[in-house]
């Protein structure tokens, strides 16, 4: 199984991604979709990234998931650039024979993508203000819980 890892600026067709994973013959597909929140007068979320490194870092995380759980399919799509509230930022889909592996691998993938892929979010607000998103301690803790599993 070779993970399907993509980086782009266009919208993610979740139905198409899920259908591909559901067609792999397994009994379980778990997915996560990250969406730009529309709170606090947010008008846009801008994602900067490290072009020479991002796809390799995402692929490394996907390969970790594939090594830890018996998976039939794994899709990770992450967007960069300027996104409006309600737009999809990231999609993670995992197909496996049984739900345990699919759900755990999906959680692992989003926890590590948030803390180990070179993206930086900036929030643009009505009125012209913009601020870089600060890392959340809860995200670090969520990522760290997978550390002890080699």
């Amino acid at each position: 199984m070779i993970p399907d890892v993509r980086l782009g600026t266009t919208d993610i067709d979740v139905a198409v991604e899920l259908a591909a994973l559901e067609g792999l013959g397994g009994g379980a597909v778990a997915s996560f979709t990250g969406i730009v929140r529309g709170d606090d007068a947010l008008i846009a979320l801008e994602l900067e990234h490290y072009p020479e490194m991002t796809l390799a870092a995402m692929t490394g995380i996907a390969e970790q998931a594939a090594a830890r759980w018996p998976l039939l399919g794994l899709t990770v799509v992450h967007r960069h650039g300027r996104l409006a509230p309600g737009e999809r930022i990231v999609f993670i889909g995992v197909a496996a024979s049984r739900r345990g592996a699919a759900i755990k691998a999906m959680q692992f993938l989003i926890d590590w993508l948030k803390t180990r892929a070179p993206f930086w979010k900036r929030e643009h607000r009505a009125g012209g203000g913009a601020s870089w998103v600060e890392p959340r301690e809860a995200d670090s803790q969520a990522a760290a819980r997978w550390e002890s599993r080699a």
Binding site: H49, Y50, K114, A117, P118, F119, W120, R122, P135
Partner: protein, 85 residues
């Protein structure tokens, strides 16, 4: 030794450019020492690089700890903790 530096997010904004080539002195051996040397330039460098606990780094496109050696490196990136996903 010529090093290509790249900066991201508010590190890039405070320094005022997205990257540059530098020739650090020979006694600069680690990422930590490189950052301290750069911060010594003052101005935007001092502002961007003054708080080491707010910084992360990559050597040749791999995340590293601050005590990582820079010998043989081609590209070093300095940036805030990542916030993707």
């Amino acid at each position: 030794m010529t090093l290509d530096l790249v900066y991201f997010a508010w590190v890039r904004e405070a320094i005022g450019k997205d990257g540059e080539s530098v020739e650090p002195p020979e006694d600069v051996a680690t990422v930590f020492e490189l950052i301290v040397w750069l911060a010594g330039r003052g101005g935007g460098y001092a502002e961007a690089l003054g708080q080491l606990d707010r910084l992360r780094a990559a050597v040749d496109q791999r995340f590293v700890a601050m005590d990582a050696p820079i010998a043989g490196a081609k590209e070093i990136a300095i940036f805030p903790p990542v916030t993707g996903g």
